[in-house]
């Protein structure tokens, strides 16, 4: 019934919002559209899977493992792909193109290494008993997801406002040259942002992987395409917009799947994307920019 669907929407939407947040972080600070971001969804999920199946880790440990692995992979990839472009002061679209190639490369490698079939997390990880909370049936996993997302978002805000690295990141986001002059180690900040945003992406991937109990090499791709819709509708680089749009998309998808047709679920994101571009190209909370006559 409706309240159940709304709850499901909250769960899905919060993962989407988390995913969009990490992407917004990358774009807002580094000013690049990094399409590899979607890859880290799969990277994190597979790493967590390996953690559980091959390393015998528990749920939380495997999750942390997956996140850290993805973060490290991101630092390496970003260093190899994006740093040369930054040094050459290449135009913005070059980073889009190079990461486009990168994601094709990494996804294919992933498929070759892990095979294309869908993997599942072992059943023992997930307690199957649903709790009754008022009129809702709530799976422990769903609570885990919501708690994780809200916790991470709060942690992220605390980190950005209260720690030195966080402040350095915000400085670099606003004025990289000035920040460098003030002694901020820009290389460290860039690496930190790469790690952080990939960690968010990987977390989203692990949570989605657990939620639908499906992990496959191209899972990042469908997330990424949803991510596009979210950040475009929410506004490029706009954190509030990303959170709101993420939740909204989760809501739209669950409602469409529940009340219209589950086949059209995927089309919702792209329809939203196209409508968003058409009606509000500057995002939900649109920022005034110099428009031509």
């Amino acid at each position: 019934m409706l309240s159940q669907q709304l709850f499901n929407a909250l769960v899905l939407g919060s993962v989407y919002a988390l995913f969009a947040l990490g992407f917004t972080l990358t774009f807002g600070v580094l000013r690049v559209i990094n399409l590899l971001y979607g890859f880290y969804v799969a990277a994190g999920a597979f790493a967590a899977l390996v953690g559980v199946q091959n390393l015998g880790l528990g749920l939380w440990a495997a999750g942390a493992f997956g996140v850290v692995v993805a973060g490290l992979v991101a630092v390496v990839c970003d260093f190899l792909l994006l740093t040369p472009l930054r040094r050459a002061k290449a135009p913005e679209l070059s980073s889009l193109i190079v990461t486009l190639g990168g994601v094709l490369l990494m996804n294919s490698v992933m498929q070759i290494v892990f095979g294309a079939e869908v993997r599942r997390f072992p059943a023992r990880l997930l307690s199957q008993d649903a709790l009754s909370v008022g009129p809702l049936l709530v799976a422990p996993l769903q609570l885990v997801i919501i708690a994780t997302v809200f916790g991470l978002v709060a942690l992220l805000f605390w980190f950005m406002e209260r720690t030195r690295l966080g402040t350095a990141i915000r400085a670099v986001a606003e004025r990289p040259d000035t920040a460098a002059l003030m002694g901020v180690n820009v290389g460290l900040v860039v690496g930190g942002v790469s790690f952080l945003s990939a960690a968010l992406s990987a977390t989203a991937g692990i949570l989605i992987g657990l939620n639908f109990n499906a992990v496959q090499p191209y899972m990042g791709e469908s997330m990424m395409l949803r991510g596009f819709a979210i950040i475009i509708v929410g506004g490029l680089g706009d954190i509030r917009g990303a959170l709101v749009a993420g939740l909204a998309l989760g809501f739209l998808e669950v409602m469409t799947a529940g009340y219209v047709s589950s086949n059209l679920k995927e089309a919702v994101a792209f329809a939203a994307l196209i409508l968003g571009l058409w009606l509000r190209p500057n995002g939900l909370f649109g920022r005034a920019s110099g428009k031509r006559a």
């Binding site: 559209i33 792909l81 040369p84 472009l85 050459a88 290449a90 913005e92 679209l93 070059s94 889009l96 193109i97 190079v98 486009l100 190639g101 990168g102 994601v103 094709l104 490369l105 990494m106 996804n107 294919s108 490698v109 070759i112 791709e221 395409l225 596009f228 819709a229 475009i232 490029l236 086949n263 059209l264 995927e266 089309a267 792209f270 329809a271 994307l273 196209i274 571009l277 058409w278 190209p281 428009k291």
Partner: protein
């Protein structure tokens, strides 16, 4: 001699035809990229042309030239309709919107029985042949070369370098961009129909993200300063996996790697020279 050539053509038919249609796709990418527009809708338009052409052949039995004309026209009209709102978008928004288009269509194809659903359409008669494909390629290439060397080519280069400065010089940038988009869509649709009529089968997954990126890789490898660039890029990237057998399974890996390496080390592509025109 002719018999040997015939044999060669027969066994490698698919590959050779593929070289031609991919070259046309490369030029479709060139049309927009030479204005500095990263429109990645070629795969989507290719799909529209392929489906339109296939339906006209299978359901209505129309003669091939008519089918080809329609398969160029339909995507062009679609481009006209969706193109206008996107004109105000910056490069990044355009890239994302056009990738999104391909995905929307893919879902639409899968969910439409009339279009064969997830299984696609099969039994397409082999109406494409060497002369049609390469003849069209030659005409299109010649058109691009001539345009590049004229004041139109000059205007395109100006737009690519600095849109606002071009505007202030009296160049109707929006008209150029729209025209480029429509031409790109028409060419992609044409390639899609030509392709369908020697592949005997088309499915919804052939016209999405990976294809869009592959087409981009043709243009990136070859460079977009001259129309020959994307054609060469298409030839190389289509032929190489066939010539180097071990590479075949790694085709996507290879494409991705090519894009990465070329963007970083050879930003202007293999053929990085500028086209010669009056005053140039």
């Amino acid at each position: 001699m002719m018999a040997a050539l015939d044999d060669l053509l027969w066994s490698y038919q698919s590959l050779i035809y593929g070289l031609g249609t991919n070259a046309i796709l490369g030029l479709s990418m060139y049309a927009v990229l030479q204005l500095g527009q990263l429109s990645l809708g070629q795969a989507a338009f290719m799909g529209i042309g392929a489906y339109a052409g296939t339906l006209l052949t299978l359901k209505l039995g129309l003669p091939f030239p008519l089918v080809l004309a329609a398969s160029a026209l339909v995507p062009a009209v679609v481009a006209l309709v969706i193109g206008l709102p996107t004109m105000k978008l910056s490069g990044v928004h355009l890239a994302i919107a056009t990738i999104g288009l391909g995905e929307v269509l893919r879902v639409a194809y899968i969910n439409t029985e009339f279009l064969g659903g997830a299984l696609g359409l099969s039994g397409i008669p082999g109406k494409s042949n060497f002369w049609i494909i390469f003849g069209l390629l030659a005409v299109v290439l010649a058109g691009f070369i001539l345009a590049s060397r004229s004041k139109i080519g000059r205007a395109c280069e100006a737009i690519r370098e600095d849109e606002d400065a071009a505007r202030v010089m009296g160049i109707d940038v929006t008209a150029y961009k729209m025209t480029a988009l429509v031409i790109s869509a028409a060419l992609a649709g044409l390639a899609g129909a030509l392709n369908a009529h020697f592949s005997s089968f088309i499915g919804p997954n052939e016209f999405a993200f990976e294809t869009a990126v592959s087409i981009l890789s043709f243009a990136i490898l070859g460079g977009v300063t001259t129309p020959f660039g994307p054609v060469l890029g298409a030839f190389v990237l289509t032929a190489l996996p066939e010539v180097l057998r071990p590479l075949h399974d790694f085709r996507l890996v290879f494409n991705g790697l090519i894009i990465v390496l070329v963007v970083i080390f050879l930003p202007r592509g293999i053929l990085g020279f500028r086209i010669r025109r009056t005053g140039g």
